[in-house]
């Protein structure tokens, strides 16, 4: 089996006595979009900086394309595209100048793909960056990250500042990238963005990874919700005995419940009570996500 593009093993980064990330272990498989989710300040950017060799881990290891990012040759970084969470480009230069300079650093010769990205995102490359909006700067950041068609893309909050149309364009670009066999680590605090494009997701909270799973199996894990209404008073206590069912709210003529697993036994039990109306809502990852987010307290950077 080939080396995974990213692997972190018990990675810990402390600033003084404060641990920004602790014991983070992750493996990002090749050719996938890997969502890295967490509330602001959970440790996403710190993890990414350790991964890229910008921060030195306090303990544990980070491997980028099988290499220790902090030592030795930097040539393998040609295979890595990076978009920082807080993109700061020199105010006085324009986009064309920035793209040309970073292109030279990366040894980029064929600029056709870069130019096509500039067109797709409608990036303004003529005006100085100092007078561009955050969204316009972000477009340039995306072009910088993708322009050399790297094997691995590390994108920290890539769509912040982009309008919805460009977010769609970005989603399409991600799909093209993985279809090409390349890999994307997509950090975000927005679950909707991640569940649209990612195959797998890790959730980090207060510096620790609390979930690392595929979107599919997360969906299977999330309780579905159902609401049943009756034209007569009913005793719904029998529903709580059905395996996998949790009654979340009950009134004499309505019941709201969550369930996971097969729906058959639940339907039979509800049918026996003679409901007037039944509404089942699809899986909502948001609820799961918020459960993981709650109590995070913002105690990590």
């Amino acid at each position: 089996m080939s080396t995974p593009p990213i692997s972190l093993d018990r990675l810990t980064k402390a600033f003084g006595s404060r641990r920004a990330v602790e014991d983070v272990s992750l493996t990002v498989p090749e050719g996938k979009v890997f969502g890295f989710l967490g509330p602001n300040g959970a440790g996403k950017s710190t993890t990414i900086r350790c991964l890229l060799g910008l921060y030195r881990p306090t303990s544990g290891t980070a491997r980028l394309l099988g290499r220790d990012p902090a030592t030795g040759s930097a040539a393998f970084r040609r295979e890595v595209g990076y978009l920082p969470g807080e993109l700061h480009l020199p105010d006085r230069l324009n986009g064309a100048d920035i793209l040309a300079r970073f292109g030279r650093i990366r040894g980029l010769r064929d600029t056709a793909y870069r130019d096509s990205l500039v067109d797709r995102f409608g990036a303004d490359v003529t005006r100085p960056l100092g007078i561009l909006s955050k969204g316009n700067k972000q477009k340039l950041g995306l072009v910088l990250a993708f322009m050399a068609r790297p094997r691995l893309l590390v994108l920290d909050e890539p769509t912040s500042g982009l309008d919805p149309l460009l977010q769609d364009e970005f989603d399409t670009l991600l799909k093209e990238t993985v279809a090409d066999g390349r890999t994307v680590l997509l950090s975000s605090h927005d679950l909707n963005e991640v569940q649209r494009v990612a195959d797998r997701v890790a959730i980090i909270r207060a510096g620790r990874v609390v979930v690392d799973d595929t979107i599919e199996s997360l969906r299977a894990r999330v309780p579905h919700t159902m609401e049943a209404a009756f034209d007569h008073d009913v005793d719904t206590s029998c529903l709580a005995d059905v395996p996998g069912v949790t009654v979340t709210a009950t009134a004499p003529r309505t019941v709201r419940l969550g369930w996971s697993g097969p729906v058959g036994p639940l339907l039979s039990a509800v049918a026996a009570l003679g409901p007037e109306d039944v509404v089942a809502r699809p899986v909502d990852l948001d609820e799961l996500f918020h459960d993981y987010y709650r109590d995070s307290g913002g105690d990590a950077a």
Partner: protein, 262 residues
């Protein structure tokens, strides 16, 4: 990737480099053009020669009305080095700590370039920055003969080199402190403080006994403080300035490798 980061850094400092160069040139032009009015003023020369404290305040010794003395008193012993240091300390503090703070360094350090190569390119940009004021000053002096000002050109060239080295040394201090702490303020503060102390030691050495013994510790003494424009730069002067530069640059690499770049 030929020197693209050196060129980027110099491009980002272009305004201050050009502005300072133009300012220094304009000032020195006036100094040079004013020489005919002062060159025969023996009272001024005698006053300064009889009052070593006043001379020390200008950072000079010897005659002020000789070509070398005039240039020393008005530019090469004081204002020139300070302008050169302003540029190099500013760049030194900005090149690592400043760029780390504003996020640009995080982006460049994530590119296919090692920290050693990154530092190499920044050191080269520092060297170019250090040359700006000394070289423009030398160039302006070339019109000196039009105004009866004919310094010893070899000595002037040597002082141009020693002033550039002096400026490089203090810029390298700022770079080192920036790499050690990641703080632009600390880099500026430490380098400026050391420069001010070193300047004082060198300029007060001729008149205060205690300070005189400390002059060896001041890079200013080795660059301009020993009246090099009149008596010439020695190999020892050059060696001290080069060794300081080499030590500071070498010490910066391990610190820079350890620096966490946000």
């Amino acid at each position: 990737m030929t020197l693209v980061l050196t060129r980027l850094d110099l491009r980002l400092r272009r305004r201050i480099l050009v502005g300072t160069a133009v300012g220094a040139a304009a000032y020195l032009l006036v100094v040079v053009a004013a020489y005919p009015a002062f060159k025969d003023d023996t009272t001024l020369s005698e006053m300064l020669q009889s009052n070593s404290a006043a001379a020390a305040a200008f950072g000079i010794n010897g005659s002020i009305t000789s070509p070398a003395g005039w240039l020393n008193a008005n530019m090469f012993a004081n204002f020139g080095p300070l302008l050169a240091l302003m540029l190099t300390i500013g760049y030194g503090a900005n090149s690592i700590a400043g760029q780390a703070g504003d996020g640009l360094l995080g982006l460049t350090a994530a590119q296919p370039v090692t920290r050693a190569a990154l530092l190499q390119q920044k050191t080269l940009a520092l060297a170019v920055t250090a040359l700006v004021v000394p070289v423009i000053s030398f160039a302006v002096c070339l019109i000196g003969p039009q105004f009866d000002l004919t310094p010893d050109w070899t000595r002037l060239a040597a002082v141009t080199v020693s002033t550039a080295l002096l400026a490089f040394d203090f810029g390298a201090v700022a770079m080192l402190v920036g790499a050690l702490t990641g703080s632009k303020g600390a880099a500026l503060g430490v380098a400026s403080g050391l420069a001010a102390a070193a300047y004082l030691v060198s300029s007060l050495a001729p008149i205060i006994g205690v300070v005189h013994r400390l002059r060896w510790g001041s890079p200013f003494y080795w660059a301009v403080g020993d009246d090099q424009l009149t008596s010439g730069l020695t190999w020892a002067d050059l060696l001290v300035l080069v060794v300081i530069a080499a030590i500071l640059t070498a010490a910066t690499l391990p610190s820079f490798r350890r620096l966490d770049i946000p």
